[in-house]
Symmetry: C2
Subunit: 389 residues, 2 copies
């Protein structure tokens, strides 16, 4: 086990109707003026918007609204939100939505008290020193942003999707009502399942000393999410399965699954190039295509671990490690297909000629390699993209 720091201070209010307490919760912290960000019109159609506003109004909280956060949230929206937040002396930022809205709020919160441009944070030109507090009402179980220290943003002028980690990115509180995800489509639910699994598996498959407890917790999350996913494909309104998925989303990415291990999320880095270049590709769908290809590319570097994954997560009953490992990857790939995810890059209707471009983006113009079992340079990354084209 490697040395680690674990710090997941987000207060999670989990359960039915919890979003109706948002005004009371914020009032207890003493905030009087907040900015509320949300995505498109869905929260208005569902009635969530009205319930949240009622709770905030009853608590006497002044709300500055910023609707219209896009999937793959954009830095220009954030720059504008920062301006508005400053003009209104906003004290905290409330996200009502999924990972995109939360990440948009994280960048906004990071930028309000910073004189430069927020793009400085993902490019490591600056570090957050005085971020505003963030809270969220979660409507999508996927990104795990509600408890994580990371935040990803798209810069469409530069055609880049980048992230950064900071303790300021941890939500002060997260309100998690699984019922709010009943209306999430099967496709988006499947994308969420893949994202949660990927957050867990990325930390599981890293060259490292033994970490039995962290391994077993990761396997617990994977098994539970796989079962929940199967249930939800048949019954999208199964409370227990939605709850399992929502809690797994938080635990998969709040660092619990990485305690004592390295942390580099290589497949996420491949995928950020993909959905950064093609904004209509959902992050989870991109991961579903890339993860099995990446696994096939690297598994021979750590046969016993991939075999453990196969046996413990997929119940592969096979004594030979190599065969077990291969069967485990196949099970994962089959599961992604079973829940309706694409299996090949060509399913996204993008040309094979994109492989060079994607590999350029991944390596920041051939200027970096991605650390995993083998350090991935331009050629190796292109090979992985090609395997899943």
């Amino acid at each position: 086990m490697r040395d680690f720091t674990y710090y997941a201070p987000t207060k999670v209010h989990f359960g039915r109707d919890k979003h109706k307490d948002v005004g009371k919760i914020i009032k207890e912290y003493g905030f009087k003026t907040i900015m509320m960000q949300y995505g498109m019109s869905s929260i208005k159609k569902s009635g969530l918007y009205d319930e949240v506003m009622t709770s905030l109004n009853e608590a006497g909280i002044k709300v500055v609204e910023m609707g219209g956060v896009e999937p793959n949230p954009n830095i220009n929206f954030v720059r504008n939100a920062i301006k508005v937040a400053r003009e209104n002396n906003v004290e905290m930022i409330l996200a009502v939505g999924g990972g995109s809205v939360i990440d948009s709020c994280k960048y906004t919160a990071a930028g309000v008290n910073y004189d430069g441009d927020v793009w400085d944070f993902p490019t490591r030109k600056a570090f957050v020193e005085n971020g505003l507090p963030i809270g969220c009402i979660l409507t999508l179980a996927a990104a795990g942003s509600e408890m994580s220290s990371s935040a990803v943003i798209t810069n469409s002028e530069l055609n880049m999707k980048r992230g950064f980690n900071s303790e300021y990115n941890r939500c002060l509180f997260a309100i998690c009502n699984p019922e709010l995800t009943y209306s999430v489509s099967k496709y988006q639910t499947a994308c969420g399942i893949v994202d949660i699994m990927a957050h867990t598996m990325e930390r599981y498959f890293i060259p490292c000393e033994p970490t039995e407890l962290t391994d077993r917790i990761a396997e617990s999350i994977l098994k539970s999410v796989i079962n929940a996913g199967k249930t939800l494909m048949a019954n999208p309104c199964d409370y227990e399965a939605r709850a399992t998925m929502m809690w797994a989303s938080s635990l998969s990415h709040n660092d619990l699954t990485g305690c004592g291990r390295e942390n580099s999320l290589p497949v996420h880095q491949l995928e950020h190039a993909l959905s950064g270049e093609y904004e209509n590709i959902a992050h989870g769908a991109g991961l579903a295509v890339l993860f099995p290809a990446w696994a096939e590319y690297v598994y021979k570097c750590d046969i016993s671990r991939f075999a453990q994954f196969a046996r413990r997560v997929w119940d592969v009953d096979e004594t030979d490690d190599t065969t077990a490992a291969e069967k485990g990857i196949k099970e994962m790939s089959d599961f992604f297909a079973e829940i309706g995810m694409p299996t090949k890059l060509r399913d996204f209707d993008i040309p094979e000629s994109c492989l060079d471009k994607l590999s350029e983006l991944c390596t920041f113009g051939r200027s970096r390699e991605i650390a995993t079992y083998v350090s991935l340079d331009f050629d190796k990354i292109k090979e992985i993209f090609k395997m899943c084209y």
Copy 2:
């Protein structure tokens, strides 16, 4: 899954030599004067005391020392510590030790800004409203007090051992260096294993809705701790096993293993009567005797759950649920014996006549019942004590 609030904000600094950063860590919070509590002379013999003092001195932190916290910490010590803390305008309390020292610090921190007597907290006459912050350097993996919201104290005049929960009881930070536990005796190590398992199993065995993810995480902790325990009986200086045990201690009792479930810790309540009455009985040893008896008393109320426990935790390969459940309890009991724990109350050399007294204490003089699968009144509690005499 039931609604829950999860809030485990303790910052954990985990790994080799981390205690040498204590001065730097405290300085970053801005505290200038602290009280440091510790137990007996062992931290002086081991050199830990000197290393901690060096780090604190280098950071320019004024230290008010209170050595001599006893196992089963005593309220009179705390009352005195509160007086000393007030006289010295102490800003935070640092525990260097195990659960006893941490709990003593929790009571001290709770009492400094409270006008009444600290015994008011465990008796629910008052609630903490302005506690001092607490930090710890952990030297024993067992109680999980480093991340928990609970604190237990002994009032020897009243012959009572009582606890209370409060968010103020959460440590601000916990420094967890597994190497500091190398010198813990086999007996105390085994007591710690039982305590960690009990914290996990208490939350696992409660009548409740399904909670697949929480179940699996609990099982992960149990399996890892059992394996670590077996390793440590053979090699007390195995870093990975000590690290597993230390991290499991924190996770078992920081509420993660109870998310979505009820929380009443019935066996702990039986045990607090035991080690409250007989202060030479180690808490873990008391639990080792009581847990199998309690399980035998209640398992028929939840056969399928006890069968799941047997199969997933103890690898019991048995299709019949009742047989599996019984084998699981036997495995647990055998494991406790294997690591050198007592199996019967009589092993503590206490007379059978104590059973009435213990049952009186448990029920606060027949004035309460303990909630579990069946509500335990005086007669039922006595029956359980009798089963394990």
